[in-house]
Amino acid sequence: MFTEELLDKSSTMRKKWEDEVKKTVAKHADQKEKWTTVSDLEIKRLYGPEDIKNMDFEKDIGYPGQYPYLRGNQVTGYRGKYWTFRMFAGMGSAEETNNRWHYLLNSGQTGLSTAFDFPTLMGYDTDSPKARGECGKCGVAIDTIDDFFALIKGIPLANITTSMTINPPATALWAMYCAAAEIQGIPLTQIGGTIQNDMLKEFIAQKTLMCPPEPSVKLISDTVEFGTKYVPRWNTISISGYHIREAGATAVQELAFTLRDGMEYVEDVIKRKGLHVDEFAPRLSFFFNSHIDFFEEIAKLRAARRIWAKAMRERYGSTDERSWWMRFHTQTAGCSLTAQQPYNNVIRTATEALAAVLGGTQSLHTNSLDEVLCLPSDHAVQIALRTQQIIAEETGVINTIDPLAGSYFVEALTNEMEEKAWDYIHKIDDMGGMVKAIEKGFPQMEISDAAYKYQRQIDSGEKVMIGINKYNTDEDVEIPFLEIDDSVEKEQIDRLNAVRRKRDSRKVRECLDDIRTACKKGENVMPYCIEAVKSYCSVQEICDVYREVYGEYRDPGMY
C-alpha cells in the first residue's frame, strides 16, 4: 500500500509520538487500561500506515461494483437509489397488520416486512394447545390463506417487495404468497421479496424449531430450486446473523457463523439439486445486526462482502459476478436498547443505523424506542422510520461512496474481522460443516460463553449501558404502550373454524397426502404446498406432515 520511504518516515514519527504518549500517560493516566469494542475486541490507541501496509489495493480494496466488493455492490452507491426503508411489522390480526402496512407505506416506507406470531413461526395453528396465550403477541397470526388475503389487502404484489420472517413453515407461507399472486393474475415471474427461511441460525440462536437440521436444510433447498426455476425475483433465503448476535454472539461470531451457514446452503443445493452455483447464488440474501459499536459494525459489514465474494469465486468456482455480491438487510440491535430511560433508544438506533449505512446496507429496519417493552406504537415507528430518512436526506453521509475506505483504523479493523471470521469458518469446515457443528453444540456454546461474559461485564460496570449501570435515574418514564388484546386469540380461532367448515375436507386430505408422498420420495414440496394452501390447508396441517415424516427437533437446552 505504501512506499518503503513513507513507512520509514511514519515509523520515525510514530516513535516520537509514542514517547510523548508515555510522558503524558505518566502525568495523566488514561481513563481505563484496556479499550475494547462491545464484542471485547481490543482497539489500539492509534492506527497508521503500518497497520494496513500489507494490503493489496487491487485485491483487497478496489472500487464499488468491482471484486471484492469491499466498497459496495452498487457502482453508483446510494446516489442512484437509497437503501430500502423496510420496517418489520406485524401484530394481532391480519387486518391490524394490514392497517400498519398501509400506514408505513403512506409514511414513505419502500418495502414491506412481515412479523408473524409465535404459533405461525413454529408451524402451529392458533387453536393448538401449544399456542395458548401467544396469538398475535409478537406478530400477525396466519393460519390459512384466508388470513393471508386479509394481510395483503390493497397491497400491489407486482410492484412492492415483501419480506417474510418465516423459517420452519417457510414453504407454507411462501406458497400462500405465490398462490395469492396467481389468484390475482400476477405471474410468479413478477413477484419479488424475501423469505427468511434460514433454519441453521434457528438451531444456533433463535430457536423457532420444527424438524432436525438435515431435513430442514432439504426443505430450504426445495425453495431455492423452485425459486430458481419459477420465481426468479424472489430471495429464497435471508441468511441471518441478526438473531445470532441478539443471542449474545460477538461481531466476529455473527459474521463467521452467518457466512458459514450461507456456505452450507450453497453446498447442499449444489449437491442435492445438481444446480450450478451461478444458477441460484445471485438470489441468496443476507441479514445482519447493527450493534452499538460504530466502527466494529462498519468493519463487519465491509468484511462480510469481501469474504462472500472470495468464497463464491474461490471456494465454489462461481464465474457470474452477481453471485459474488453479498446483498443484505440490516436491523439495528434490539439487545442494545434499554427499558430504562427508553427515549435514549432513539439515539442508539440512530447511531446503529448510521453504521449500517456506512457499511453499505441495501435495506434497513430501525428499531422503535418502545420495542424493548412491547410491539411498537405508530408514533414510535414513525420516529424510527424518520431516523432513516434523516440519515438519507439530511446528513450528507451518502454523498460519496464508502467514505471510510482507506482509513487506517477502519481498514485494519475490517481485515481483523475477516481474518478472525475465516478462522471460525475453517474450524467449522474441519468439523464437517455447519450441520455437524450444530449437532456438536459448537456455535451454541461459543455464543453462550460470549453472552455470559458480556452480562458479567455489564453487571460489574466494565461495559457501560446508560440507564442500566450508569447515570441511572429513579424516574419512571411513561411511554404509550401498545398491547394486543387477549380477545384476538378467540376471534382468530373462530375464523379458523369457519374456514375449516367451509373448505372441501377431502381435497385437504388429498393435498396433505401429496405433500407427504413428496417428502418421502425426496421430491420438491413447493408445487404441492401451493395446491394445499389454495385448498385452505392450514400452516399446522402442512407442518404436521413434515414433523411426521422428518421427526420433530427439540431444543437440547444447552448452556
Binding site: 394447545p129 395458548r132 423457532t208 417493552l373 453462550s448 453472552a451 404502550f481 398491547e483
Partner: protein, 134 residues
C-alpha cells in the same frame, strides 16, 4: 449428610425462543453453587410442572419474552398447587409490563425479575428466600 444444595428448574414456557436470559442465568446459578436443570425452549406448563416434581426442585424459574406470560406463568403456578407441590416457589422473568405484575403475584409468583436486574441480585434473592428442602 452434607447440606443439600438449592435445586432450581429453569424453564422456557410457550413458543418463545428468546433464551439468552435463561441460559445466562443457568450458568449464573451453577456458578453460584445451585443445582440447575434447564429445560430448553418450548415447554408446556404440564411438562414444566412434571419436571419440577420429578426433579424435586425447590424453585421454578420461568422466562418468557413473548408476552404470553399472562397465561403461562399462572398456569404453571396453578398446576403445581393442584399437584400438591405448592411448596415449590415459582418466580418469573422477562418483558413483564408493570400492569401485569400484580395479577402474576396474585396467581402465586413470588418474584419477577425484569430488564436491568443484575445476576447477583437474582442470586441474592434466591439465597435469602429459598431454603433447600430436607
Amino acid at each position: 449428610m452434607a447440606d443439600r444444595k438449592i435445586r432450581i428448574l429453569l424453564a422456557k414456557p410457550g413458543l418463545d425462543g428468546h433464551d439468552r436470559g435463561a441460559r445466562v442465568l443457568a450458568r449464573t446459578f451453577r456458578d453460584a453453587g445451585f443445582e440447575v436443570i434447564y429445560t430448553g425452549c418450548h415447554q408446556t406448563p404440564e411438562q414444566i410442572v412434571g419436571a419440577a416434581i420429578q426433579e424435586d426442585v425447590d424453585m421454578v424459574g420461568l422466562s418468557c419474552l413473548s408476552g404470553a406470560h399472562r397465561y403461562l406463568f399462572p398456569a404453571v403456578a396453578q398446576q403445581l398447587q393442584e399437584q400438591g407441590a405448592a411448596d415449590i416457589t415459582v418466580v418469573g422473568g422477562g418483558i413483564i409490563p408493570e400492569q401485569d405484575m400484580q395479577p402474576l403475584y396474585d396467581a402465586g409468583l413470588k418474584a419477577l425479575f425484569t430488564p436491568g436486574a443484575t445476576l447477583d441480585s437474582i442470586v441474592d434473592w434466591i439465597n435469602e428466600n429459598i431454603k433447600p428442602r430436607v
